[in-house]
């Protein structure tokens, strides 16, 4: 049994999409589910799950799953 990538799981839950649809290349606004409203939910979920506080630069730069991983790493989170 393998455990899902926790970052992928947060994206899947926040965007309400199947886990299989999440990959590092997934980008903001390229699927209907990742719109501005979902982006706000995503920010809140990332903060809750990984216990970080994102600033506006992070929120703007977080345009893909890969970028989210980079930003979390900047906050000392290995996701």
């Amino acid at each position: 049994m393998t455990t899902a990538d926790p970052l992928y799981q947060v994206f899947a839950d926040s965007l309400a999409i199947p886990l299989e649809q999440v990959n590092d290349e997934l980008t903001y606004n390229t699927i209907p589910q990742w719109d501005s409203t979902a982006h706000m939910v995503l920010v809140a979920e990332l903060e809750n799950h990984f216990k970080v506080m994102l600033d506006t630069d992070d929120i703007i730069d977080m345009s893909s799953v890969a970028k989210a991983r980079e930003i979390l790493a900047k906050h000392g989170v290995t996701a």
């Binding site: 501005s36 706000m40 600033d55 506006t56 630069d57 929120i59 703007i60 345009s63």
Partner: protein, 185 residues
């Protein structure tokens, strides 16, 4: 007048901005969503710039983020003889020229700045926009801001009042108003 907020700055269009603005405006990806898709020549743009520079019914801005130009925004008074100071309805317009920010939450920032200015400083009753029915991205974008559809067809007329705008953008404003760590060069 320079407008600022939500991490972006809107500065009035100047002569030095015209080349970049023309380049963006003639980009097929941007021109496709415009009501007129004809390429703009340098001469046409110069004539346009002369006209808008002394027109109290409209104002055009360059959007800057982290000290770089990323797009263009404008506001126009609706109604014959109306100026931006006397209009009760204003039509805002915007495009993001820099491809790095077209698919980005930041695209909301200049609109929030402009809309705040129109409602809170100019005191307009409503904002209005006419969008191609095929431009679903713009329609979805405007729906997130609280716009309601007035008329549908090949062109969709939408309007926004202050109350709807406030309700729909509270969370977005909070998100884009957090502190920013990056220092501009």
């Amino acid at each position: 007048m320079i407008l600022q907020g939500y991490q972006v700055t809107l500065t009035p269009v100047g002569e030095d901005d015209l080349d970049l603005l023309r380049q963006w405006r003639n980009d097929p990806d941007i021109a496709r969503q415009m009501l007129s898709q004809e390429p703009i020549s340098e001469e046409q743009q110069q004539a346009w710039f002369k006209k808008i520079s002394r027109d109290p019914a409209q104002q055009h801005f360059v959007i800057r983020f982290r000290d770089e130009p990323i797009g263009s925004a404008n506001i126009k008074a609706c109604g014959p003889g109306k100026t931006l100071k006397t209009a009760t309805t204003i039509e805002p317009g915007l495009y993001i020229g820099d491809p790095r920010y077209r698919q980005n939450i930041l695209a909301f920032a200049p609109t929030l700045v402009l809309n705040d200015y129109c409602f809170e400083q100019l005191g307009v009753q409503q904002l209005r926009a006419v969008v191609k029915a095929t431009n679903t991205a713009a329609l979805n974008y405007n729906q997130k801001l609280g716009y309601r559809t007035l008329n549908s067809g090949d062109l969709v007329e939408i309007t926004l009042n202050f109350e709807d705008y406030q309700q729909h953008t509270r969370a977005m404003k909070a998100l884009l108003s957090r502190s920013a760590t990056r220092t501009n060069p």
